[in-house]
Symmetry: C2
Subunit: 309 residues, 2 copies
Amino acid sequence: MSKVLVFGHKNPDTDTITSAISYAFLKQQLGEDAEAVRLGEVNNETKFALEKFGFEAPRLIDNVATETNQVILVDHNERQQSANGIEEVKVIEVIDHHRIANFETSDPLYFRAEPVGCTATILNKLYKENNVAIPSNIAGLMLSAIVSDTLLFKSPTCTDQDVKAGKELAEIAGVNVEEYGLAMLKAGADLSDKSLEELLSLDAKEFTFGNVKSIIAQVNAVDVNDLLGRKDELVGLLNKYTEENGLDLYFFIITDILNNDSVAVVVGSASEDAAKAFGKTLKDNEVELPGVVSRKKQVVPVLTEALSE
Amino acid sequence: MSKVLVFGHKNPDTDTITSAISYAFLKQQLGEDAEAVRLGEVNNETKFALEKFGFEAPRLIDNVATETNQVILVDHNERQQSANGIEEVKVIEVIDHHRIANFETSDPLYFRAEPVGCTATILNKLYKENNVAIPSNIAGLMLSAIVSDTLLFKSPTCTDQDVKAGKELAEIAGVNVEEYGLAMLKAGADLSDKSLEELLSLDAKEFTFGNVKSIIAQVNAVDVNDLLGRKDELVGLLNKYTEENGLDLYFFIITDILNNDSVAVVVGSASEDAAKAFGKTLKDNEVELPGVVSRKKQVVPVLTEALSE
């Protein structure tokens, strides 16, 4: 059997990077020739977690088909979020916690998706089911993924299973969850070394609501005013990108990780309708979203309902 | 939470019917309001298993959307094999052992597919993972599914996991696998109460290989000559159906369950090419397939390779 590459989605986040490492490690313990790789740059939050637990970032690959003929996907399944060349290789496993779409195989495979907050919560079960003990540094990575995806257990995507797994993993890793978790989130929310252009692409995902072609991007911040103070420049960039790419909506969410609120900067022909979807009117391209922290659970469904007509 | 309906594919077989019952029972033990239902007539093999272990056939439903708004699929995931109205309800779980295709959700769900011979082998794990003991009559149903899907562990689709699960379940059910299994397969292979028309539709699946629109049907028999003795009549019916439905190929497999061989009766413009795919020439619409018992593993891949150009 040739080498199996294990990777998460493009624009990698902490769950994607650490789940690739953690699952490749489990596979190695089970005797398989598995290697974790990544499809893009590692963000500051993930760097913080990797350094803390003594890991290097996985190797960056461009096209998967030039590397191997079999792969395992973690933290995603939709083709457009996956590696270049994915159509030319065989997907032998998927471990994920997202909706299933744009995914098709010609043969049966191991596909494990669960409606939990984080891929690492499922991996925690898989270690147990395979009777493999989790080393403390791997447990630290898995805990980091849960903290990241659930914003320290405060996101509405967080389930009881994520909380339980987080506690178990913190114990194995020997870290104080609150202390370490907040430090990691703050490292990710440190945007000082990023240009506005970089911020826009950091975690941007494409969606189509009926005829409304949209991008919904999200960044975490300790102080949202750092970014809102540069709003004119930001709106200029968003407008430029929206025009150049024929978008109807660019919805840029800035999430306050200390207070668990968000504010969105919105442009495009559908921007008034998007604000209205949240019962708001747009003020200078800005809409406040108190209590909103999850794109998946609190933004996409609202815009789907309002715009997909 | 409203009632959850649990069901397998159209043209139900033993795995589909018994997995619906066995998984609905597990869900009930976990406190959920789950009901097993079916999408079509129960075949003779399944009837034998249900009677042996004291079960009635699940309720037959027509359109799922008039019944509930949430469903669990077992033993299938492709939309065209599922219930009428499936687009209007929410699929909250899938337990399956087939390829994944024509399946899409708007929300995360529990999706558990594994490359094993039978859905019941996965259910056996789920009972353990949920710490629910399998009652002996449910174990009997699950064993029946494994015997059926693996032809008593002789099909190439059978994995070590299916053999292990089969042994465990036979022990719980208190039956002799070989004896009971062969009796069940023979009950299914008793075609004496079926017209030729019924036999053709009993387990017929549609496939498209490149431009070749095909049906591959399969029946189990104790003596293949029962059917081959009526070949002229059979070929007439296959030709009629092929013409009326614009097919290029009707590949009708008769599997000898005692010797684990098959013979196919083949019609349509692609029939010579189909025979050639197996290194044979067609003789009076007949092609011998020594050692072939699995449509999924031994017929579909061969025809895919030969005809999809």
